[in-house]
Structures are given as C-alpha cells and as structure tokens.
Symmetry: C2
Subunit: 548 residues, 2 copies
C-alpha cells in the first residue's frame, strides 16, 4: 500500500482554509497513487489553538467543517488526521487521530499523554485516552499515537515522565507499523534527538515508524516538519523537507522489507536561520500583514534581524530606520547604511535629537543633562515611538531586535528597543547571533564586517560598551544557558568553573528582569527553554536563591 | 480543643520571611490558648509560586527551612500548614498539607484535585494524591483537604469537573470536622458562592468545616482571606477579616455543638475597592517599591486609579502627572488638578506639546498634521515616555489606568497609556469604574463630579468621544461580559437582544486586540475571567467566528 505523509502548515483557527489545504494535499497524494494519507496532529485547526478550544462556536464549527473530509474526499482513500473531538458524555475535549474512509470515520485514537510542561497546557483542554487500540486499514494494522505519546520510552529516557508507555502497549497488539502524528515544536538540536529516539523505538519493537510532523510557525512556536519514515532496523527510509510543506509517499511493503534508504540530515546553523525566517514569515502572513520596519543601529542584532526579515518577507517589504542620537558613532550610522544598501532595502534616517532635546528641556529645564538612567532610557523610548509611528502610518509591523542574552539580564529598555510585534531573535544568545551573522555572510558580505568586529554597545551615553555592565558574552552565555535552559543550581554553575560572585550577580539580574519580559513582544522559540509562555515566573516575589 | 486559623499573607518565594510570619502567628495563637493552628495552602512559599517550583535550589531551601516549624515551635501545639513536598520516589512535587507536632511531621495529606483551568497550572508541577486519609490530632479526627479538593461536590455543581469527590471519600471515614486549606483567588461575587458551597457540604455530611484561606495579592491574583468556620447545620460560626491578615480561634467542642453564631458578610462594591487597594499595595511592597506615578487625564479611569493608589500606598507616595496636549480640554486639566488637590498628593504638569511638535516636524516636515492614527497614538506614547522618565528618575513604579472595556476592544495605545508596572483596573468594566468612583466619593467629593458626569474621551483629536468608535458602555459591557466571562456564543449573545452586526463587530474587536493584551502590564483579576494568565489566546490566528 502506498502511504503519503502530508506535512501541512495550518493556520490557527482557520478551519476552512486548513481543510482546503488538506483536500489539495489529498488530491496530490491520490494522484501519486497513495491509498492512505497521514496528516499531523491538529491539522484541521493548527497547533497550539490555546483557549480558542474553550469557545463553543469554534468547536461547533470544527465539528461541522470536518464533515468536508468525508465524501467525496475520502472515496477510496484513507485520511488519517489530527483534530479535536468533543466527548458528549464527559463534556470534555480529546486530542484525536481520526481515520476517514469512504465517507465514514472508521477509527479514532485519542492522545494518552497530555504534556503540561514548558509551552504545553494540554491538561487545560483535554482528557486522556483510556484505551489504545491499533487501527486496521486494508491489510495493515497501524499502531497510531499522537506526539507526546511516543516521547516516553522507558529505555530511552533515564526518567520517563509518565507511568504509561503508549508504544509498548500498542506493540503488544503487533502492528505492522507505528504512525505518530505530531506538532512537535522546533528547537536547535531537536531533530537529532527526535530521530535517535524514534529509531530506537523502531529497532526495539522491530517495527517501522511513520512520523508526520506539522510545519510552520504559530506565534512563539516554530514547527520544523521534517517528517520521516524509519524501517524496522532503525534506518531512515524517507525524509521530508524541513521548514516547508511537503508530501512524501512510501510503499508500506518496501518499508517493512527495509529496502528504502535516505540521508540523515545534519542540523547546523542554517536550520536556525531557516527556522527564524519561517517564524517571521508565518507570523506576518498569518496575521495578514506584509510589511515590516526594523530599527538599524549599526549593531549586529538589528543587522541579523533585518537580513532575516528580508529573507522572510522580501526586500520590498522591509524598511530600515536609522535613528541616530548625539551618542551614535559615525561608524554605526555608516554600518546601518551599508547594511541597507547590501540588502537593497528602503532606508530612512530620522534623527532623535530634536525630540530628545525637547524631552530634556521638559524635565531638566535649562540644567545640563544628568546622564541618569531616565535620560538613557528615553532615547530608546523615543526610537520606540518613532518606529511605531512609521508602523502605524504605513501599516507595517515592527520587529524588535533584542537577543536572548540581553533579555535575560534586562539589558534592554521596556517600551524602547522592546517595541514591536515580534521578537525574532529573543531566544538566540548573543554568541549565536554572531554565528547567524557569519552564516548570512556565507556567500558575500551582507552584514558589514565592522558591525561584526566592533564591541557591542547600546550607545545611550558617551563611549558606552555592553562590557561596562556585563561580562563578555562568551562568559555570560554559558552561565545563562546553565541557569535558564539546563535549570542548574547555583552550586552546579559555580562547579562549572565560574566565580561565585559573578554567578550570583547574573542570576540576580535574570530574576529581577522578569517585569520587563512580562511585557515583551512574543519571541520565536529556538532553544529548549525560551522566555515567554514556556517560562512562567512570578514578578512580585522575593526568592533570591538560597545562597544570595 | 481550641483551634486557630492563621490567615497569613505570604510573599512568593520569601520562604524565610513567610516562616518568620508563621512562627509569629503560632506564638499569638498559643498565647490565645490554641492547641492547633491552621495555615492556608502553600503558606511557606505563597501561592502561586509558578516556575520557581522548577528551581531545585528553591525546593531544597524549602525543605531545609521547613525544619524551622518543628522544635521548639511545634512543642505542645499542632501546626497544620500548606507547603510543597518533594516525592523522592517519583521525583515529582506534591501540593501538601503537613501536620507538625512536638518536633515531627505526624501527618501528611496531598492535594487530590489539581486545577488546570483559568489561572491554574497545577498539573504543570504536581502529582495528585493517590490516597486520602483523615488525620488524628488529640481526640479529633480531621478530614483535611486542599483548596480545589472541596470544589467538586456532586450535589452542588451541575457538572462536577472531576470524577473524584474528595470530601465524600473523607466523609466515609467519619471525621469530627473537615478542614480545607486554600489559596482561593478573589473575584467579585466569589465570597457568597464559596460560602454557599461550603455550607451545603457541612449540612450534607452534618460535619463542621474549618476553611482557612490565604490573604494578600501576588501579581495578578488577589486573595481575600475571609476564612471561616461553618457548623454541622451549615451556619456560619466564625468569620475572619477580608483583605487583611487575621487570627481567629474556635473551640472545637462548641463548633461541633453548633453554639457559635457569626454574621454573614455581604459583598458589595467596597470589597472590590478593598481588593484593588490590597492588590496595588502588595504588588509594590512585595517588589520593594514605595512610590508610584499616575497620569491624570481628568477622566474617570485615572481618577479612580489614583484614589486607589493613595489608599494603597499613602498620599505622600503618589505623584499625579498632568500631560496636556493641544486637544486637552480646560475642563480635563482642571479636573485633574482638583482631584490631586482633593487627594492632597503632589501634582505636576508636563505639557507634551513641544515634544509632539518635534515629532510632527520629524515625520511631516512643514506639512500640516494628517490627523491619522500615527499622530493620535504618538501623543499617548509621548505621555508613556514621560511617565517612564519620571518613574526611572524618581524610582517610582507607574500605574496604568486603562479599564477592562477598553482593553477588551483595543481602545488603548500599546507603549502609550498601556505603559506601567501594574494595571489596577484592567479587569474592571467601565460601568463598574463608575460604581467605584461613587464609592470613593461616598463621604465627600474626591473625584470631581465633572469627571464623573462628562462623556468619556481619549482627547487625541479635536472633540473626540469614546462613543464615536464604540457603543455606549451600558451596551458594550454586557456584551463583553457575555463573550469574555460567560464564554457565550455569538448566537447566545444575539439572543440576549443585541443587534447581530454590533455583536459581530465587538467580538471581532476583542479578537483582534490580542496583540496589545499580550504586551500589557499585569492586571489585577477581580472578575471570573480576566485578561492575562487566565486567558491564553493565539495572536497569529484566523478564527473569526463561524458567523462573521
């Protein structure tokens, strides 16, 4: 039997549009000879739909519109797809895989393991499956599971998260193959982890696995797609594209015989680049906005964001703004200009000096500037106002340019450089921003070398450098990684070889900056732990570490 | 036996400080003759601690510091308190009630029902109890439960949320009394609901109930306290203060005999007022900030927020700012001045005209103003910059003044009037803001009558009125209430008697304004459904209602 994986990019809530897309992919799969088409988790509504699931109109519309996937669409072809179903008895929702064929739903398997960690809130909406049964389709017995269900193998993880091993239970029924439908968010390095885990399961049960993952970005979350098939020996049989829609078809007989062979993709910085480009593009397209505006300081962060925006939206849709002040160096202004020229985008200059002067007069009268935090921040905030003025006037959405290292320690101005609809690199540590810059310059110089070479500076006072307030990023980033992503304790971080006082200071800065992050723009998640919905910290709190 | 309810106001994460407070309350209870002291849920760390619970240093410190509640503190007195325990076998956390006595933890009962709706995320952190056993203390058998455990009575609710009825299970063991320790967030109207429910349970099982609730505010959530005892006939035996710490003691024998009698408190607008005052006070005190700054437009929202701030922080800590523009009416300026005079607070005027002029010159050159959205918004944003300038310079935290009706339909400017550390009335509908104003003026005129009487206006263009863009608030608010708080469908709202086109327009406005709310300051929750952590909506989505 020919099986197609239809790796679709749904838009949250656009039920009709998503089903149109599915029907198009079913037609293509049928034309390619497929008898069964497999869609990702929640292909009908996009993942994660969040509290739209609590809207009764939404669930009713979903029920009605899902009928569109029955006749004539499912005539002579099986459609296995993720959706949400309403359980009339309990009045609760289930995260379900349905198998449609010849006008009927012939099988249903609900998700058993509902993640509630990091960015996941599934216990908020769903009840878990109470049974797990293989689905029969033609002469194939399919062990169908949904996303998290497959992430709990007792032999792969030191400490499985749930008592139940879904795949082990399905394996007892001796399926011909496993199918996992997923909406598995991307982070840098996840592809290999996911692959290794699934290969291990295939080998362990000597059963092939079809893995169908959502592609596309929804708010903070980027889904890489990269669906694949693994044969019973744990070898990759087929590999779909990453960061793009795709349909791949496989012959189930040949998959079971293990006669396919595909390449093992190698994740590198290009993946993070492509993830961010997809994240920007989908955020704009799915909100219905075409054009952006980016403040170009001449520094590396804004240069990288601007280059990503050009890849995501096209150079005609990107406007670069230079907003120099008395503290902006000539080098920075030139770098911003050269970057815009290299990217061939529109570039305008709006000096903030007149407005800054007017602000100083308002608050200082005839006295000279005090050089305090208020005067530093208001420069960033005037720029925030300017960029929003242009965004409002020209119907653009602004991108913020702050990186994860800054956001972590609060080295950023709320309502200033934090103004914008989306924060593309707010989960990219500064040291990795440099890697992205080098990748962007891989063929020719787009980001001026002087931007990459110079010491980072906010340029809010004379001769200011980031390192006046922070350790070098090569020291800061590993400490932040240990604290935020690896959740290491103070003692564990000190044991990595860092000065206790430095570690204390950094932890303290991270904890104290929570109020800024609470009002930050949504940021694209590309690490195992991003600020935002996956990291929920109180603000009015006095935990200072047992040691601080 | 004399039992004390120690209704404490813990600070999130301040384990040592919270335990100091508990020890002080234990001493007082002992002095009053108590043999058992009952503290609320998570009294040691404050509720909700959120992702602090994922910090291993934090859990370790909690374990260590909880020892302080053993000897000598628990000598000859029982201490029943809520805390978090670490289960060594599963490696998971439990939300626990511990009973300490004479240096040992003599009983433990974990929470069985872990809420995951609205503002709650307990499945993110905890595993549920697998058994429920009454605790013996002296000659009393106590049926101890934790918060949500008591909110699932099969006879009280049409549709109980969980299959398990914790109280029914405990009742089978025939306890002398039930004790429920809670951190039950306040909303307007909740006290009667909670009381009725608990009275019903007492009557149903003919068993008295001691209900110990947290008081104080933590970020968005306000806890009213208002702990009480209900006798076996369902009558209120004892009532603690609301919105303040309190210790009340009861004789268990007399409670079981039903010889106490206390008043049934009547919730009115004063409660909402006091809740908001507590919310502001705790947010400031728990973050370590004393002083605030409030933008006074002359309108009712800023007047109410300013009056609340004076009650919360004291008049010396409140600065009122008038920031008039060319569109500010003389009446508005006068009203702002009179309000500040009535409140006896510091008042300063910083006209935005010079900075606004400089902005217009920057973007329009010598052309006249276009009167577009960009020019409207930048006025609000200049004010945002000004208020943050003062906040930064004088170490104040700004309060935002927007109400729930505005925030719902997006009638507010991101980075403009939305600038601030806390949004005290962002969950108060405009019609209720008027009720608060009348309550504030109950004894003499604090808020000028002209502020209350005039038509609401943002004053961002000549002769602008809210009703140019919105229906009257008396129409808007019930529709918003139905959509947001009652989660009613479009058809259900139309069936209430509103024009379909109007309902469509309002729903559409609410859905489209999500991007603004995502970057809003934390707001104090006082209704059943506030924007913020309890309402998690996607931004890049295309659900427009099945009918729109």
């Amino acid at each position: 039997m020919k099986v197609a994986i239809a790796q679709s990019n749904p838009t949250i809530g656009d039920i009709n549009g998503n089903i149109d897309k599915m029907i198009g992919m079913i037609d293509k799969s049928r034309a390619a000879g497929a008898e069964l088409v497999v869609f990702p988790e929640m292909a009908t509504i996009g993942y994660p739909p969040k509290d739209l699931l609590l809207n009764s109109d939404f669930i009713e519309a979903l029920n009605d519109l899902t009928e569109r996937l029955l006749l004539p669409v499912s005539h002579d072809i099986g459609i296995l797809f993720g959706t949400v179903t309403y359980d009339n008895i309990s009045g609760m929702l289930c995260n379900s895989a349905l198998l449609a064929y010849n006008g009927d739903i012939i099988s249903r398997q609900d998700k058993s393991l509902l993640p509630t960690y990091d960015v996941f809130d599934e216990a908020r909406y769903f009840i878990p499956a109470d049974t797990r049964q293989c689905m029969q389709f033609g002469d194939l017995k399919l062990g169908v599971s949904i996303c998290e269900d497959i992430w709990n193998d007792k032999d792969f993880w030191d400490r499985p998260r749930y008592p139940l091993d879904v795949i082990a239970e399905l394996a007892l029924q001796q399926p011909d193959m496993f199918i996992n439908i997923s909406a598995s968010p991307y982070h840098y390095g996840k592809f290999a982890l996911r692959s290794d885990m699934i290969k291990n399961i295939a080998k362990k049960y000597h059963t092939p696995i079809i893995y169908a993952n959502q592609v596309g970005a929804n708010d903070e979350l980027i889904f890489d797609g990269g669906s694949f098939c693994i044969d019973a020996l744990g070898n990759r049989a087929l590999q779909a594209k990453v960061f793009d829609e795709d349909i791949i078809t496989i012959d189930s007989q040949k998959l079971m015989q293990g006669t396919y062979s595909s390449y093992d993709p190698n994740e590198d910085i290009a993946w993070m680049h492509d993830a961010l480009v997809l994240g920007i593009r989908d955020y704009f397209h799915k909100t219905g906005c075409k054009k952006t505006v980016v403040a170009l300081s001449g520094g590396i962060d804004s240069a990288v964001v601007c280059a990503l925006a050009v890849d995501a939206l096209g150079k005609r849709n990107v406007l670069g703004l230079s907003m120099p002040s008395r503290y902006s160096s000539t080098g920075s202004r030139d770098d911003a200009y050269v970057l815009a020229k290299n990217l061939d985008i529109e570039f305008r200059t709006y000096p903030i000096e007149d407005v800054f002067e007017a602000c100083l007069r308002t608050f200082n009268g005839d006295s000279p500037p005090k050089g305090d935090l208020a005067e530093e921040n208001i420069q960033a905030r005037i720029r925030g106002n300017f960029i929003m003025f242009i965004a409002n006037r020209e119907n653009r959405m602004a991108l913020t340019t702050g990186n994860k290292s800054e956001l972590a320690v609060g080295y950023c101005t709320l309502y200033g450089d934090m103004c914008g609809a989306l924060a593309p690199i707010s989960d990219v540590p500064k040291t990795m921003v440099y890697e992205l810059a080098r990748y962007i310059n891989r063929e020719y110089e787009i980001i001026p070398e002087s931007t990459i070479a110079k010491a980072p500076s906010a340029e809010l006072r004379p001769d200011q450098k980031d390192e006046d307030s922070l350790p070098p990023y090569s020291v800061l980033d590993p400490i932040l990684h240990a604290y935020i992503e690896e959740n290491k304790s103070f003692a564990q971080i000190v044991a990595m070889g860092y000065e206790p006082d430095l570690v204390k200071d950094i932890i303290h800065k991270v904890d104290r900056a929570e109020f800024k992050r609470r009002q930050a723009a949504p940021g694209l998640k590309v690490t195992t732990k991003a600020f935002g919905i996956g990291r929920r910290m109180p603000i009015a709190q006095r935990w200072t570490g047992s040691i601080i």
